[in-house]
């Protein structure tokens, strides 16, 4: 992967080298192959874990480099973190209900 120290551009004009874009692209393609391969191996519940880990890796690369988040302001970073945080709230608190419906069984 490209060495970030060579790409210290000012945040206003984050012009990244073409080679970096191709390197990211290649990584994404390899990851796609990997995720298809991983799905064909039976890992039990870890299938989904692996698939999501790879997806997250791919997503992170897209956001950091293709979308230039790595070279953006702190405010943009906070925005992305806020998105993830609110998604987490929605997922986890909804599942709080669904995953615990059987905890008190005597009353159905």
């Amino acid at each position: 992967m490209a060495n970030p120290s060579n790409e210290h551009f000012s945040p206003e004009s984050h012009i990244l080298p073409v080679s970096l874009y191709f390197a990211i692209w290649a990584t994404l393609m390899v990851c796609t192959g990997l995720t298809v391969f991983a799905a064909s191996v039976d890992l039990g519940i870890f299938n989904i874990v692996v698939a999501l880990l790879i997806a997250t890796l791919k997503g992170t690369l897209v956001v950091l480099f293709f979308m230039h988040l790595k070279y953006s302001t702190k405010l943009t970073m906070v925005t992305v973190i806020a998105a993830l945080f609110w998604l987490f709230i929605m997922f986890s608190l909804t599942l709080t209900d669904y995953m615990t419906r059987h905890w008190v069984t005597s009353g159905l």
Binding site: I89, L93, T94, T96, W103, V104
Partner: protein
Amino acid sequence: MATAVQTVERENYLNSNYGIKSWLLTTDHKRIAMLYLVSITAMFWIGGFFAMMIRLELLTPAGDLVTSDTYNKLFTMHGIIMVFFFLIPSVPAVIGNFVIPLMVGAKDLAFPRVNLLSWYIYMLGAITALTAMVTGGVDTGWTFYTPFSTTYSNTHVIGAAIGIFIAGFSSILTGLNFIVTIHRMRAPGLTWRRLPLFCWSNYAAALIMVLGTPVIAITLLLVALERAFNIGVFNPQLGGDPLLFQHLFWFYSHPAVYIMILPGMGVISEVVTCFSRKRAFGYEFVALASIAIAVLGFVVWAHHMFVAGISVYAALVFSLLSYLVAIPSAVKVFNWTATMYKGSISYNTPMLYAFGFIGLFTVGGLTGIFLASLGLDVHVHDTYFVVAHFHYVMVGGMVMAYMAGLHFWWPKMTGRMYPEAWAKLSALLVFVGFNTTFFPQFILGYMGAPRRYHAYPPEFQVLNVLSTAGASILAVGYVLPMIYFLWSLRYGEQAPPNPWNAVGLEWMTASPPPTHNFDETPVVTWEAYDYEHQPQEEITVGH
């Protein structure tokens, strides 16, 4: 009054150009605010008319004025219009739109064309929803609970849902505009710690608009799809779970009550400081309380579902979190009260509304504690207790704050003063009428009167009659401002740039402001609410 009688009318945003096109194609935030003002006022009267019909029907225990189907449509349309087309846009889209760019010393919002677009989207949504109502109405309740809304209702659910779906994007765009404006367009020297509390609270509300509204959009889209194609996601007959709908619905609709109340709280902070001539007590705490409410508001939604069949454990979690969101609201109330301590208080109309707000919001907030308490909620859930509670917050709180803000900034928006005596009378009428209408409903609720009942057992009649009587007083209290505001446009006194002798950038430009707001970009060198350094002699306001 300041002696500067303007002989030559200087150019302002109202007289810079004329004609319908200059309004419909404007990108000026002040004109867009006026467009919003006209449209949401129209929606308020439509919603208010439905409310009046509801109250008249409930005058007698038998369902004799309208049929039960009509009644069900009335309360549904009252809820949909008031929530989505009046309360949510009221303070942000009218007052916020007008005042926030002025407050931060900007020439406009960050995206003026998007701002205009958001008004058009709002109108499209409103017209879609109204069409659904005119052509037959909706009878699902504003909550659209499945499977009633998806399978059993024979009314125009899709139309109403699409209307709300569309209006949601207007709300999203307004929120997005506010957040970006407050981040990026502040005048030099206007740091976050110097930002008026109105901006803070609108910022917090905008966060909810941006993060929550998309979820209601997708949820209502699924309801529409469910009705159209029977996709089964919320339909128990097809294996879906109706509670999932409630989760997704309240994920937005609970925070939405904070979209409604937070900007109102911001208005109160402005008004209380101005008419007490004091700095906001505990500025940081009030500002942070807004953000805390916005964040915590997202983790309490299932307290609407304590009896709906959620797990006991989840109910415990949501109950605990619900108490936490009460704390920042309490902090705000205490700080407003403390702001008045050792102030120099004048009883102008906005301040009277602010008194009303603080008192009624306290009652509304405290009864929220009743509802957050699991064992008690089981009894009062879906009764008039809930109706009274949220009207105390929404009408007693939010509409009071909206009225306070409208009176406060009316001179700035129109360049005219409203008639103070009439305004005070109407403030009093609203306060008395409101309490007469909604306080009896707390008692009704604890007695067990379920909400959304077209006919009710006779022993509930006395309190219902009281409620209807109060509603008619309330109606007069709302009709009066409508009349004298219109009157003031033509006959009102010319307003000076700063009639209340308030601090804040919006008062440092002309009334009404010029198209570009400021003749030169202001530089802020003072703290928020710096009444200390404003010369006392300038106080000209009577009472």
